[in-house]
Symmetry: C2
Subunit: 381 residues, 2 copies
């Protein structure tokens, strides 16, 4: 097996010092060592969420935290607006529907984001809306929303704003309190550089008011239980202790590098991938620069290239693992993940491997082109 370059939008590569935290001996989840661990990790998380709101760690995938953000704050029949820019926005809509909410979708054309004007219009047409769910960074289409424009549209109405930041938190700036965002969900295995298995959710005072009126059934996701337990340095149910050890370490790493530096690095990585890929003159990007995500880049190959076959060659020959398309994009695109513990070196290996594959397929004058464009971005910093 060649060395592996995990260039997918999660789970992302985990640094060795964080991986080592995973193999620590078990501790009592009702004892003083765990109390210290959970309180320290929660405080570090709040810094990354940029919030003073309550923050809870759930033993579940990101989708579990999304479900928690639905069942804790709403009642059957409540009208909610859901932004659908891809599979994960649609997932939010489906969770809401599964619980009997009245879902209004805003669905821009494929590869586009949601504009403040369009959101304004939908909310005007649906004045009884109780909450708005938006996907900060839609992993399936590589679309990032401009929350600085969108948040005020929701918040000036005094209703709940709930953000899926699973694949953005730590990589793309998300000033939760500055934008007055009520609920943010994220997960360990993306830009937070830890293994999958836990997710997180923040809860504003307004969201707690909604909680008191919410009638959807809940038990495992009940955040009041989480709040009561956390006050005693515990969790309501046996938590994924190894991932919490790992997350504490990875958050320390990220914060010591500086959160703003982390955002800058992701801007540089995203720019290098987009410039590198387009410089080949063979591929198209799914997303306009205006909405382009700095954590994942979906690429449309020409008809003669099967993206899944290309991914298989890259994996088998070069150890470069890319993601395929999801939902309606299955078999039509490939996606390069560039978030978390990813360095320029990983981008260079990825682009170079793609060049070699293309040359073998008969494309000429490809060698070095994408790498050169990426190097230019790195040289400019």
């Amino acid at each position: 097996m060649p060395k592996t370059y995990l260039m997918i939008p999660g789970p992302t590569p985990v640094p060795n010092d964080v991986l080592r935290e995973m193999s620590r001996e078990m501790i009592n989840h009702r004892g003083p060592d765990f109390a210290k661990l959970i309180s320290e990790t929660t405080e570090l998380l709040k810094k990354v969420f940029k919030t003073n709101n309550d923050c809870f760690i759930l033993t579940a995938s990101g989708t579990g935290a999304m479900e928690a953000s639905v069942v804790n704050f709403f009642s059957p029949g409540d009208k909610v607006v859901v932004g659908v820019c891809g599979v994960f926005g649609e997932r939010y809509a489906q969770i809401c529907s599964a619980y009997g909410l009245n879902v209004v979708r805003i669905k821009p054309p494929l590869g586009k984001g949601i504009e403040a004007n369009d959101l304004e219009k939908v909310l005007e047409e649906n004045p009884e809306t109780k909450g708005v769910f938006l996907t900060h960074n839609e992993t399936s289409t590589g679309v990032t929303l401009d929350l600085k424009e969108l948040a005020p549209v929701v918040k000036r109405r005094g209703i709940l704003l709930l953000i899926d930041a699973v694949s953005s938190l730590g990589a793309i700036d998300l000033p939760t309190d500055e934008l007055n965002i009520d609920v943010v969900v994220s997960a360990s295995q993306k830009a937070l550089e830890a293994p999958p298995g836990i997710s997180m959710i923040t809860v504003s005072p307004l969201a707690w008011e909604y909680y008191e009126k919410a009638k959807l059934p809940k038990f495992y996701w009940d955040l009041k239980k989480a709040k009561k337990s956390l006050e005693k340095g515990a969790t309501p149910f046996t938590p994924a202790i190894p991932q919490i050890f790992a997350l504490r370490k990875s958050l320390e790493n990220i914060l010591s590098r500086g959160l703003e530096n982390n955002f800058k690095r992701h801007i540089m990585l995203g720019s290098a991938v987009r410039k590198g890929i387009t410089s080949l003159g063979i591929f198209k990007l799914l997303v306009d620069e205006r909405y382009a995500s700095n954590t994942v880049t979906p690429v449309i190959p020409p008809p003669e290239i099967n993206p899944d076959e290309m991914r298989k060659k890259l994996r088998q020959e070069f150890g470069v693992v890319l993601a395929g398309g999801q939902g309606e994009l299955e078999g039509k695109i490939f996606r390069i993940g560039h978030l978390g513990y990813i360095e320029p070196s990983d981008i260079l290996v990825t682009l170079s491997s793609i060049e070699i594959i293309l040359e073998r397929m008969g494309y000429n004058e490809i060698r070095g082109k994408a790498v050169e464009s990426a190097e230019k971005v790195f040289l400019e910093g």
Copy 2:
């Protein structure tokens, strides 16, 4: 810090070869390596569950799998009977109530189990009962139910039998298919010798028939999603990959030692703890021998001994970590966990440490007594 002896009923100590699996590099959860991992682990699990039914791994604590066993098979208003021998039976009842089921509790006196006659009577009085939830091994009170007697009472009525085997699976025999049990839930961090973070659930053909009629809302816990994904070697949502690596290893270990040998070892450990503790003439056991669990032993101290202070001394001076009481037993008992990766040596250290603490408190002629009784059990095999 002294060496640590984690003698609590979960999370239990994890062997080093299993811990090392936790720090493997991340892999793509939509790729061939993960497909191999999840299918191998699921097949090993079925051997431990002794079932040919479907089996799914969930990224959640055991309580998550309990919730999955409620929302997948029932509709609001359905009548269910729940056996309540302690905190975890009561938790099942609360989950059912949270989702609007009509709950009938069978609650034997503290420290007793449920008898077939009593279950028979309750089911006769409630002929519209759709399912029965029982806790195989109640961790909070150390009561183990005799499922060979109880299962036929439920199954001859053709209704669902759902078993919480979180703290029994792998330690106490649970012949799922022989007893025709429809749904069994368990978790990684007890007798399966792996870290916490994942849980499992088995589903019989009859349970799938119930699924088709069930109207409770679900998304994250939806087992049809899990089934469809597993057929493609995946999970619906990003799974806790490290715990699945670890579980594969620990199941290989357990099965290579022999499942029946594992049951025998737990019988021996349980007997050694009970005989050791009672030989001191100071403590009482909460549970009669008829119902006594071989994975956890709740101990009632005399009024002059505060169990939580005793536990603190044991932890600080000897690194022996015991559990306290839960629910109505908080502050009244201590619990010795003896399941999973626990050897006679761990029992001897625990009993000896208790003897030293008691001698220091002024009890005489204590030294060696509990250890001697335990040694006798080990010598007899």
